[in-house]
Point group: C2
Chain length 306, copies 2
Amino acid sequence: MCQNCQQQQGFLAELIDSGLLIDTGIDGLYGRSGLFEEVVARFDDLITRYGGQDGAEVARFPPAMNRKHFERSGYLKSFPQLAGTVHAFEGDERAHAELLHNVSDGLDWTAGQKSTDIVLTPAACYVLYPVVAKRGPVGKGGALFDLQSYCFRHEPSKDPARMQLFRMREYVRFGTPDQVTEFRATWLERGQAMMASLGMPLHIDVANDPFFGRAGRMLANNQRDQRLKFELLIPIESVEKPTACLSFNYHQDHFGTTWGIKTEDGETAHTACVGFGMERVALALFKHHGFDVQTWPAAVRDVLWP
Amino acid sequence: MCQNCQQQQGFLAELIDSGLLIDTGIDGLYGRSGLFEEVVARFDDLITRYGGQDGAEVARFPPAMNRKHFERSGYLKSFPQLAGTVHAFEGDERAHAELLHNVSDGLDWTAGQKSTDIVLTPAACYVLYPVVAKRGPVGKGGALFDLQSYCFRHEPSKDPARMQLFRMREYVRFGTPDQVTEFRATWLERGQAMMASLGMPLHIDVANDPFFGRAGRMLANNQRDQRLKFELLIPIESVEKPTACLSFNYHQDHFGTTWGIKTEDGETAHTACVGFGMERVALALFKHHGFDVQTWPAAVRDVLWP
């Protein structure tokens, strides 16, 4: 076992022993205690204190999305291995009897499940683009949304910061290239200020997403070379491999072209987003300040409980 | 089209036109506006004002659960048609190329998806029983939990009160038959008082769950005859068929036996729960008091915004 893995199991075991996380028997799928949720809620409020004056439209979506929209998004090109499709039983009583026999015999009962028209949401903003497209061109100032959603990534792991289901808060900006790159630059500053105020050791780097296969290597190189995605990294499990807790993405015209989203001038809208990994930030706080929030540095407590 | 269906489309269309719900192209899968979420949050707080002094342990789980736990729960006997299994891609680059071809040709690309070890959560408390079982016998006073979770039910509908993914708050009680039936009786009173304070027309009735098939009819009869589940019903789409917004369930020893949960005396624990349909209550409020919360009755506003 690598040293990082040992550390990961150590921290995960501590979190479960302390009651902050609740084991479900599945790597990457955990319940959380009331205290953990309180920290998430206070960080959620902190994000709003930084971004709440920008006039974003608040929208909240359930943890799944329209499969047709997902197919069109391009996600399957880059990360097929992370996606989760939702399947359901559509059989008759005989098929039901067989299903129950398979369950009680410990056999696979899922082979007959049919895919439904929804898939689990891979990132909070994927749901939004077709909604905005349907409204017509974004206005002169562009558009800004405030999202939060559960997201799914099929990557079972003993690293508690790599959950299969986790919450992502996002601000998403639509507009001209200037408008959206300014938005991203603003949040790069805000994000660092926010996380520094929480006493977090951090640095910014270009992202290193797990694009699939050989073709994916090209996409990864392109993302890096064009500096399309930055991450705010904090050591949680490992100092050598710190965890991306916030990300700052410039999609260029990818979603604008995909969905036919236009600016007022008839140009294809560019988009950018800033994403906050809610569980990851909470874990970073517990890692660096300890499991007892009463003993956290006063300055950090004042920021979270103003 | 039946008259109820017309009414349903009418209310759903109004909710979408007003921006309270956001269309995703899938029946039963909606985004919600900031105002809708504010009402959900205020109702969430109201539940806590009624139940927060009881000493419940707070736990929050993601919208999916361990498939092995789900199989053992018995849900597939009663409601196989409502369950949602999560499937993922496990192929190589060649399979990926084929998947992408199928997507771009509009063919089914989901046939190769393999079932994962998680399923969507059907009711907030299903996740909890194996967790409690693992802890050993519940103490002398029994045990009490405060949950909230997204739940999935595969029943696409134009009735906005019948969502495929929705949030359920729950209190769950473990203990002797006396302890858990007293809990349920308390919440039957509290639930009615709470919803009356919100100006809701309501009545209590035995539940009418959609058990599957002919065998399911027996289960449904048993549930009714033994008065195991009551619902607090409020007209949303229809006066003739009001919507269950809260439910009060006595599981007898079903989960205690299934999971081997014992009381301090070594008896099998009985369980009961009260569930709150968060979106349904918000919809009931918008239905009866209008879409503009500023014009809601002062008494109702005082309850929600104390």
